[in-house]
């Protein structure tokens, strides 16, 4: 009886399942997708963009996404990025009910995006991780996962970012090239990285065609400093 229960328990099944991720970023993941029940942390200068980009495929697949504590997420830019908002709900201000809110979301949605200001009590964090594994719901945190008392299974970091198109009093922000590094556990522990346009000139996510690029692009004229504490967090603190 116990065996049957274990066999039929989602705990076993969830491990093998993944949520789809767009091709441009799939190379970062061992299974080419987000493992169900896992926690992913996204940090760095373009953290909000990257975290949003990770939800594109899920949002287009009929799955539900819940965004907690992300009142600033612009739906226009996100739609240009490729996100479909038909099954996407925002809970902007969960306040001190955040534990209960995420708890309820795990029962209902497939992917939860958590904003940089969200803090969970440590006992809530543990409970939520267990529930996620059981239900197969994944969480993506914008900013450090440990800050909201979740233990990340994967850490994505925007290590470098460079805008094109803007000069000194002329031009405009046209596209941004970013380098994403992955730091993971277990099978994901090898450092992997990916170079993408986020956004490209149309506001979408796009791979960087490296054959035509000088190898040292990121070290050339537009080089940005190594990722500083992410801006999403700073912007939010005042809002």
């Amino acid at each position: 009886m116990n065996d049957i229960h274990q066999m039929s328990s989602p705990l076993v099944l969830a491990r093998n399942r993944t949520f789809p991720v767009v091709d441009e970023l799939a190379g970062l993941f061992t299974d080419r997708g987000i493992r169900q029940g896992s926690t992913i942390e996204v940090t760095g200068v373009a953290a909000l963009s990257l975290a949003s980009a990770l939800t594109i495929s899920v949002s287009r697949s009929g799955s539900w996404v819940g965004a907690v504590g992300l009142p600033m997420l612009g739906s226009s830019a996100a739609s240009d990025l490729g996100i479909k908002f038909s099954r996407w709900a925002f809970i902007d201000h969960p306040g001190d009910q955040v534990g209960a809110v995420i708890h309820a979301l795990i029962a209902g949605v497939d992917l939860i995006l958590v904003g940089p200001d969200i803090k969970l009590r440590s006992d809530h964090g543990r409970k939520i991780s267990a529930l996620m594994r059981e239900r197969g719901t994944s969480i993506i945190t914008v900013g450090k996962a440990t800050l909201c008392n979740l233990r990340p299974d994967l850490c994505l970091r925007v290590s470098q970012a460079a805008w094109t198109g803007i000069g000194w009093g002329h031009g405009r922000l046209l596209s941004r090239k970013i380098e994403v590094e992955l730091v993971g556990r277990g099978a994901d522990s090898n450092l992997r990285s990916e170079l993408v346009w986020l956004p490209d000139k149309e506001g979408r996510l796009n791979i960087v065609d490296q054959s035509n690029e000088p190898a040292n692009f990121l070290r050339s004229a537009y080089r940005m400093q190594k990722a500083l504490p992410d801006i999403g967090e700073q912007v939010l603190q005042a809002s």
């Binding site: 373009a46 953290a47 009929g62 612009g74 240009d80 941004r176 801006i231 005042a238 809002s239």
Partner: protein, 539 residues
Amino acid sequence: MVLTNTRTLVLIIPHWRVIAAGVAHDHLAAVVDKDRVVDVTPDGAEHGITPGIRRREAQKLCADLKIIDDDEERSVRKFNSVVTALESVTPRIEIATGGWCSFPTRGPSRYFGGDQALARIVVERTLKALSVALKTTEVPSVIQPRIGVADSRFAAVVAATSKSLSRVQVVVPEGSAAFLASFPVDVLASKYSPLPEAQELVDVFRRLGLKTLEDVGSLPSEELFARFGSPGLLAQQLAQGIDGRAPLLHSISDVVSEESEIDPPAEHVETAVFVAKALVDRIHQRLAIEGAVCVRILIEVESEHGDVSSRLWRHEHQFTSADITDRVRWQLEGWYQSENPPTGPLSLVRLIVDETVPDSGQQLGFWGEKTVNDERAIRSFVRIQGLLGPDSVTVVQRGGGRRLADIERRVPLVAGRFDPDQVITLPESTTAPWPGRLPAPLPLAVLPQAQQLEVTDSNGRRIGVSGRGHMEEDPVRIRSDSLGSHLIIGWGGPWLLDEKWWDPAMKSRQARFQFLLEDGTAHLCVIENGEWWLEASYE
């Protein structure tokens, strides 16, 4: 969750459809619409004829039955004299249809010295108007008006229509839930109920052993929602004496009203109705952008000589375009046949949407159309709304405009009225080439509220812009509470935004700039009247 009810008086005149058709109350007659009986005289009712049965069944029950075709216009037109008589009591009478109206009691009740006194006055004036209309000195008791006063509209309707009670029924404040408790669940499916097509739901309630409203009202809302979707929730709220519409109410960004002069002024009702039709279409377009439907509308028509006809109409579910044009026609027909008809041709039509609820696609029904996924998700959102309030869970809806705040719009998710495939398809405005729209790519992080900013030159002096939007000095540093102080390493702009230049009160002159900072972040800033604001970030 704070739900605000409006204490309401409901007036219903029994058998109105047959009376309006000109049948004496003691005759055997029934009004039929689309082969179904909609109303019957008291004598007919004694033969077992009830609204809802087929014409043929009715005739089988009573061979002498006179059959009259239904005509809602006639029924409303005849009701006009009653409404006019009540207008001396309160100006805010909402007409649902012929023989059925309501109004909030707060003001008039205080004026007349309580709900009982108010109800007495209403009965008195209605009877007077009826005796004139029916040309009798005494209105037969079977067709005397029935009045219900209660904290919620639904409770007032139940009070007014319940057969076992006296003609005037005032439910004490805070007492609506207790009053409703003992009523059978069938009242949820009456023709006065705000629940559309609820017979099936009521049948299931009965099979489950839920016999009274108390049984329904005391179930946990999550369970009800899980089993029956939004109709279940609405049924529960009604049973608890809460007007189910109230929590669904959401404010539309500004009052939706449309008016049009009739030129040349119209002598005929139909000409005015035709003008109104164009207004109705415009209203529906605007409401569609807001994702709302109209449940109460104020219709005003003026004549060339300044006479005005003004009436408030309510629909229990939602007004369609045809419904509204019908109301305009009924109102005008009633006006022409009233004691004070317009003295000149009609010159102006005005429609003001008075109350809206989020667009539902409610006819779709909760089950069947949506996936298991959606049901589960919406159930969890209902739970969150229970924790944080009905506005806490929002979904995206697009508006048109050039400011980011205009484009970005979220509306509260209304469980059960939510159709995942309808949310964003509403307006075409995002694809429309708005002049002055921001260049793509758009910023991903839009501040819900712009934050004040300081932009300074190499000497630390604040920088302004010229009338044409040119920067007076080279910007060197940016500072704000949220960003801190940063060196600018690139900038672009201006993008000028002269919004609503035709309206001096609304006019705002703005210039937008993009700033790239030394930490790699990029921001969209706006200067307006010499003040800099951080509007969004290219996060």
